[in-house]
Symmetry: C2
Subunit: 310 residues, 2 copies
């Protein structure tokens, strides 16, 4: 069990994030999605139990962190793959979040939470307080918006107190996002724009001194037109952009997600980086293969998005 | 740590639920929301740490389960209050879910999850498989619908395989549910009705032999007009109805949520039952006070909803 308390943050999440992107020179982030059915042979457990998988997932993710820590500003842990291992998975996730921070990485915990007030406050305390008794405080988390502004407010309050960040799902990368998010309201707003409009005051309430907000939005790489619209509605938000790599989002359209200075978006790739043995040449998995896949994604994105130091 | 594997279910969740409601004679269920800031004095830890709180939360919830096990068909655990205690909280939750089942209660785990396909599949395996390696398989879970049908399908597939159930948020009890859920589409559908309409084929795909579906909907007690509309759109779904008690939903309007036979809804009360010392006479907390509060809620609901044996 990790015991080292993380220090409170000195600067807003938005400020810390921009510094990390400038330092590494890339907006690419690595999604840590340790699907137990995709683990390389070297990390397969003797017994298919939580106790069998937990140390293997821990070792696999540590290798990934070691491979990418100096290349990218941030890693995003997908909670589902740890929750699948129950209490043992929660323990592994807590340890890995500390390891990632110790390696100098910022950490998003992808939990897509959202609930009524007192319950949202409990989630916010668990995941947005760096000194949380959960031992699982992240630099930022993802949220689901269906329940409305009052369901998000406790997270905004916590992000303000603890100088941590939020990424609210606005237009997600999956084809089924059309079912609700693309519906058009009588007011002529599309649902995803409606959500962006009610996020706007929350975005403004979480700005740092330079006008960047610690309230961001999840916008799928698969929908560049929506991204252009949303860039105008949420000008000071960072977009968390999944969907390149395994999900086939087009890297050439990524410029729609960024602001004029090449900031304002994080491009997340998970499976194509952490499971390179499943893609391309299907070479054996290794730390070097992960590093090579990360370099390829970074180079690919660099051809389309130039980060300035402004 | 719990080790006893739960047996696979012999009957659909919808069938098991109806039998449990008929056996206990009430649709009232108890929400287990062990907010650490509300715990009675007898359950306050020496140290405000996860290690300090975990056994206290465990003992408090065991007392609540003992108090209500013969009175109600089902308990609903709110995951947030356990997640706030990190890995130790996950361990306590796993143990309590087993204890609740051993006491003959059905268990909903209120997690409001939802994500893209492979991630939703990991969540579904964690919480809908009674033999899950997570050790945290529930009889049913709650889901968030914003990401659309394909984000829900892995949960539907798991519910079919494991004969477990789903409750998708459609019209939630909080005032802010108006921000998105009450918006009117160009098609004249309200957003919550749009969600109900895309849930309809999923509802039909999870019917038991008698025409009840294991796909239910969360509909807040605070919105009885919406409930009447949704009752017509999702005729074979059970509504999970939070919002009476502490949230002030009107018990007299509950009939809108039920079908003609007094089935088709579960009325959930959390704080008013488990924290009776915070309400009414503010007497000291005790197992008997919890039992009395549960009896009062059951009697209150019985005045407005009569369950038939059909």
């Amino acid at each position: 069990m990790p015991t080292a308390a993380m220090p409170a943050h000195a600067a807003h999440f938005a400020t810390r994030l921009k510094a990390a992107v400038l330092r590494t020179g890339t907006p690419v982030i690595v999604g840590i999605d340790p699907d137990i059915f995709q683990l390389p042979d070297a990390f397969k457990p003797d017994a298919p139990s939580a106790a069998g998988f937990a140390p293997k997932v821990r070792a696999f993710c540590s290798e990934v962190l070691a491979a990418v820590a100096d290349l990218v500003p941030l890693v995003k842990f997908q909670s589902a793959y740890f929750e699948q291992l129950g209490p043992a998975g929660a323990g592994v996730l807590a340890e890995l979040m500390i390891e990632a921070k110790q390696r100098g990485l910022l950490v998003i915990l992808d939990v897509k939470r959202g609930d009524i007030g007192s319950t949202s406050a409990a989630y916010a305390e668990a995941y947005l307080n760096p000194d949380s008794i959960s031992g699982m405080g992240a630099d930022a988390i993802t949220l689901a918006p269906y329940m409305g502004t009052d369901s998000l407010q406790p997270f905004v309050d916590a992000a303000k107190t603890y100088k941590t960040g939020l990424f609210v799902c606005v237009k997600t990368s999956n084809p089924g996002s059309k079912d609700l998010q693309d519906q058009v309201l009588k007011s002529d707003e599309v649902v995803y724009a409606r959500v962006a409009n009610f996020l706007r005051p929350l975005m403004e309430s979480l700005e740092d001194g330079s006008g960047s907000s610690s309230l961001g939005a999840v916008v799928g790489a698969t929908f560049p037109q929506a991204a252009a619209e949303l860039r105008a509605l949420l000008p000071r938000s960072t977009f968390l952009v999944p969907g390149i790599g395994a999900q086939q989002g087009d890297v050439a359209s990524l410029k729609n997600f960024f602001d004029a200075d090449g900031h304002g978006a994080l491009v997340s790739s998970s499976r194509a980086i952490i499971f390179p043995h499943k893609f391309k040449d299907k070479l054996p998995w290794s730390r070097e293969a992960v590093r090579k896949a990360a370099h390829e994604t970074i180079d690919d994105v660099r051809q389309h998005v130039a980060i300035t130091t402004r």
